[in-house]
């Protein structure tokens, strides 16, 4: 018991002595959005961070009722979502930030699957390939319903499968 305690203390010191990085830093498919609250001037209305452990549990629990959902989730490492409710004055900053992130993604060989800039909204969808699989997906949407949405999914992704599962399993946002 004492031995364990000392090991824990030492390992804590060890981690303090090294850079305190996010666990997924450097993992292909992971995107650091930076300080979004600082850029948008607002705190997020929705902030979700689901790691591999939780996703595995949900996957296991869903296996009987929805095998496709279970399969999609079982191969994911992380789902992160930030949603900001912004007024007309703040949306340009959010758009600018999304554009900066988009350029950085392209430099890092993320593929732009969808890139839409219209008067009402800006939508970016990017995929990161690792070998012959999709290792990451990043979605940024600014302007729809006054929202700025930043989402990053890491893991072994089948975009079509994820799309089907999202359409089926997602809640109705109009009735929240």
């Amino acid at each position: 018991m004492i031995r364990r305690l000392i090991l824990v203390l030492l390992l804590t010191a060890l981690s303090a002595g090294t850079a305190l990085a996010q666990p997924l830093d450097g993992v292909p498919g992971y995107v650091d959005f930076g300080d979004l609250a600082g850029v948008t001037g607002a705190e997020p209305a929705v902030e979700i961070s689901l790691g591999q452990a939780l996703l595995s549990f949900i996957s296991a629990a869903a296996r009987e009722e929805d095998p496709e959902l279970a399969d999609a989730l079982g191969r994911l490492r992380s789902i992160r979502l930030n949603v900001f409710q912004l007024d007309a004055d703040s949306l340009p900053n959010a758009r600018k930030r999304a554009g900066e992130i988009a350029r950085r993604l392209e430099q890092d060989f993320w593929e732009p699957a969808v890139s839409v800039r219209s008067e009402d909204s800006t939508i970016h969808m990017y995929m990161k390939s690792e070998g012959d699989r999709v290792a990451g997906m990043t979605v940024m949407m600014v302007g729809q319903d006054g929202e700025a949405v930043f989402m990053n999914i890491v893991g072994e992704i089948d975009p079509a499968q994820l799309g089907r599962v999202a359409a089926r399993f997602g809640v109705d946002l109009n009735h929240r």
Binding site: I6, L10, I79, V114, S129, M141, P159, G170
Partner: protein, 167 residues
């Protein structure tokens, strides 16, 4: 330009690099004989290849060597790793030696991933997942409206393009 022309145009560079093979190569060469525009593209691609290779390169200024040599006057900045390694080594040594204390457990106990999480935590996680997927669907639907098709189609085209034309 139709899809057929695109198919050939997209393979001009691969052809110039000698990376088309088999059926693709035969199709491309067959088309090359018949299509002057494609031949012009291949000629341009070859000229471009040559012009790129002929662009000047640059040599370091002569004083770079002296500036860089001064770098080795100081020790490499590796101390966080050294400290961490030292702590880890100390921890390991201490841990091993503590194994002989009377009353300590004879076998090392490694913290395991919990086999269960509380039901309310799982329920909360499911709700968050449903919300996250809803936003993914919303973005997909918005993108689909803008591009005039289901959003998954441009995603699949993008992925196919990355895997595709290397030959």
């Amino acid at each position: 330009m139709g899809n057929t022309e695109n198919w050939y145009e997209e393979r001009v560079e691969a052809y110039v690099d000698g990376e088309l093979a088999g059926g693709e190569l035969r199709m491309f060469e067959a088309r090359l004989e018949l299509d002057p525009d494609l031949r012009a593209s291949v000629t341009s691609a070859r000229e471009l290849q040559s012009a790129l290779g002929a662009l000047p390169r640059y040599r370091c200024p002569p004083d770079m060597a002296a500036k860089v040599a001064r770098i080795t006057d100081t020790e490499p900045r590796r101390w966080p790793l050294r400290v961490a390694a030292a702590i880890a080594a100390a921890g390991l040594a201490l841990g091993l030696s503590l194994g002989e204390w009377p009353g300590s457990s004879p076998e090392p106990h490694v913290a395991a991933v919990p086999e269960e999480i509380p039901a309310d935590e799982l329920a909360e996680a499911r709700e968050e997942l449903a919300l996250a997927l809803a936003y993914l669907d919303k973005a997909g639907a918005a993108a689909g409206r803008e591009v005039g098709s289901q959003w998954i189609k441009p995603v699949e085209r993008t992925l196919a393009a990355v895997e595709g034309s290397a030959g």
